[in-house]
């Protein structure tokens, strides 16, 4: 029974319901605005999240993502707009009656209760649950988050990772329709964070709960999310799968915010359906892109090229005047799995290039400081945004 359900959910995820224009959103946010005095924290946001999704709201601090989450939980009421959950308007439903649970950034575990009691707290508030039923559900969830042997500890006797799992268990044990997670992995160190990310995905697939995650950490968003909504200044600037967000940013902000990027300002000189040419003084060359974009000729456009999509050559490439720049290596940062090179090109701009350390090279084979290099990239790599 359970496995069948699970595979159905997986198929749904695979089916990508957001591609279907008729699909009904499980969570529908319609034209939500939240103002604190003169300050607009969330500005006219509309959003649909589908059942079984892990939807990430990604943005810098103060972009309104947490406010949006708190409105879904019911801690803030929107200035205008509406939130529907499973077709029901949430406007007049107080937080303690919403079928929504939240995992707080600070975990907000009750310090005077044991792990067990913390988790049972939510169930005790539900009517018609017997004591034994509560006990079984608590032990079940403790097994899922692997905290069985810590059941009688108090929160201060747990490590950060364990506390995080208690907070997750406490939110999940209520079997909410929607789970909200506020910076769920913020307080964990890198290794633990990676492990927990996959654990979260596993748990989500096991229980089929819809997750909305708020994070400022793009790596976290990339690993967890089925879709990401990038927020800036109270607005959602792009919604898409992690790949779409990374490979096809729709505007300068998203291109800049997600990952690192080299941005060149330029003018469109040739605009054809199958390719475009952009003359960039910042690069000192013409950029040739092998796909069409929608912008008027002569318009100012920004070309974004990811550091890992640029090649470093020690000799000038043959027959290539476009997508090429000459420069001098100014900085090298060895990161183990890859190295970062900062190359100052002739126009004076510094370009960031990352190369994987595929081979172990000796010092004279390696590209060194103050070496003259040529940067090239494939015509499919640049992303052109107009705003």
């Amino acid at each position: 029974m359970q496995t069948a359900e699970r595979s159905v959910d997986k198929n749904k995820i695979k089916a990508e319901p957001w591609r279907d224009p008729h699909a009904e959103g499980y969570v529908r946010i319609e034209n939500i605005t939240k103002k604190f005095g003169d300050f607009t924290a969330v500005n006219n946001v509309s959003l649909k999240v589908y059942k079984g999704e892990i939807f990430c709201l990604l943005g810098g601090s103060g972009c309104g993502k947490s406010t949006l989450l708190r409105m879904m939980a019911g801690f803030e009421s929107p200035t205008s707009g509406a939130i529907y959950l499973d077709g029901q308007d949430m406007a007049d439903v107080p937080p303690y009656e919403r079928p929504v649970n939240m995992m707080f950034q600070s975990y907000a575990l009750f310090p005077h209760m044991t792990v067990e009691k913390n988790i049972a707290f939510g169930l005790e508030q539900e009517k018609g649950l017997s004591k034994s039923e509560i006990a079984t559900r608590v032990t079940d969830i403790l097994d899922i988050v692997k905290l069985r042997e810590f059941a009688v500890r108090k929160p201060h006797q747990l490590s950060g990772g364990q506390r995080q799992r208690v907070a997750l268990a406490r939110a999940l044990v209520k079997r909410p329709k929607l789970l909200l997670l506020d910076e769920p992995l913020g307080a964990l160190d890198k290794k633990l964070r990676e492990a927990t990310q996959f654990e979260l995905i596993n748990i989500q697939e096991q229980l089929g709960v819809t997750f909305i995650v708020v994070t400022h950490d793009q790596e976290e968003a990339m690993t967890l999310a089925t879709r990401i909504g990038v927020m800036n200044r109270g607005e959602i600037v792009q919604i898409g799968t992690p790949t779409e967000i990374y490979e096809f940013p729709q505007n300068k902000f998203v291109a800049d915010f997600i990952g690192s990027v080299n941005m060149f300002e330029g003018t469109m000189v040739e605009d054809l359906p199958d390719h475009v040419r952009i003359k960039s003084d910042e690069l000192g060359a013409t950029i040739y892109v092998d796909h069409g974009i929608s912008a008027a000729p002569g318009a100012i456009v920004y070309t974004a090229i990811r550091p890992e999509k640029i090649n470093l050559l020690r000799a000038p490439p043959e027959n290539q005047a476009e997508n090429c720049a000459k420069g001098v290596v100014k900085e090298i940062a060895y990161m183990g799995d890859m190295s970062i090179y900062l190359v100052k090109i002739e126009s004076g701009k510094t370009v960031r290039v990352t190369l994987p350390n595929v081979e172990r090279l000796s010092d004279d084979e390696r590209i060194l400081w103050d070496e003259t290099v040529w940067l090239t990239w494939h015509a499919s790599s640049p992303v052109v945004v107009t705003q």
Binding site: G74, F75, E97, N101, K174
Partner: protein, 335 residues
């Protein structure tokens, strides 16, 4: 290091005629001792030693003196009015004479037992009333905006700027038969006869609750103010309504504050002297009044000392409880 530098500078600039004296003082006088203490005692030990010294001189030694007197024999005509406990006999032996008569008297005399019980009762109910009044006030203050919060706290502390005695006397003016309250009620026609409020237990409760309320509010406030609001949000998120969230989260977490405040009210209320003497009944005395009467009217120092020691012992338990919970809260704060 700094000290020795100061010393050389001072000795160099010392006026000619007094030169040798200055040098002597700096070399062997108080600066030298200070330097020795600072050099050889670690600062931490010094800081701890000072309060211990204070407690030793002003608490332990007086306590031992009182303890000694409580075992002495009463001699009404003596100065002081008790026989010495320790006495050197002529044959070179030390005679120690300890009488437990004063303590036996305390246990057998119904007046003492009843005033002791009355003191406990008054202190207990005053504490309960203070808690009932103080908790909502402390809660409201901790929930108000910072501006209001400071105003409220100021208002709580403000009465301390007036003499305690004056404030209790002011209550006489309010409570007596032709006092403010009775006059007002009669003028408004609620009552024809003045209510007898003075010299009743009611007046004692009013006085104690009024005087000690700040001691309840302040520790409660300092506890409640530190509460993390997200805990209440979490409780609400998990389905607990406001009342349930208060009962299950705020109240248990404020227990250290409740206990600290209660003990701060209860302990001094048991030994309260001024309020029951001024506002209370003449036929039912509280234990502190009895002690003072024994001491000043009867001049029976041993019995008065025995009362004091008994009071202390009976209050040691709540005091130790207080210490225990205070330490616990301090530890919790460190986390």
């Amino acid at each position: 290091m700094k000290l020795s530098a100061a010393r050389t500078v001072a000795s160099r600039e010392a006026p000619g005629r007094l030169g040798p004296l200055w040098t002597f003082l700096f070399r062997y006088g108080p600066p030298r001792w200070t330097e020795y203490v600072l050099k050889n005692w670690s600062g931490q030990r010094l800081v701890i030693a000072l309060p211990y010294l204070w407690l030793l001189v002003f608490f332990l030694v007086p306590f031992l003196i009182v303890l000694k007197i409580s075992f002495a024999e009463f001699s009404p005509l003596g100065r002081p009015p008790y026989e010495p406990v320790f006495r050197w006999l002529e044959e070179g032996a030390l005679q120690i004479k300890l009488l437990i008569g004063s303590y036996q008297y305390l246990l057998n005399e119904p007046l003492y037992v009843s005033s002791w019980m009355y003191s406990i009762k008054v202190a207990f109910f005053s504490t309960v009333f203070c808690l009932m009044l103080g908790y909502p006030m402390a809660y409201a203050i901790s929930r108000s905006t910072p501006t209001y919060r400071n105003v409220f706290l100021m208002l709580i502390i403000l009465p301390f700027w007036t003499s305690f005695l004056l404030r209790v006397y002011a209550w006489i003016g309010l409570l007596k038969n032709d006092g403010v309250i009775n006059n007002m009620l009669m003028a408004m026609g609620f009552i024809d006869e003045p209510l007898a409020m003075m010299n009743t237990s009611f007046a004692v409760y009013i006085g104690i609750v009024y005087s000690y309320l700040p001691f309840m509010i302040l520790p409660l406030y300092s506890n409640l103010e530190k509460h993390d609001n997200t805990l209440l949000e979490a409780a609400s998120d998990l389905g607990a309504g406001p009342i349930k969230a208060f009962m299950r989260i705020t109240l248990p977490l404020s227990m250290p504050g409740v206990i600290a405040g209660s003990l701060l009210v209860f302990i001094p209320a048991v030994g309260e002297y001024v309020i029951p003497s001024l506002l209370g009944r003449a036929d039912q005395l509280m234990i502190a009044r009895l002690l003072s009467d024994e001491f000043f009217l009867n001049r029976d120092w041993p019995k008065a000392s025995a009362v004091a020691i008994a009071m202390l012992l009976l209050l040691v338990v709540p005091i130790m409880l207080f210490q225990h919970f205070q330490n616990k809260e301090l530890e919790a704060q460190k986390r």
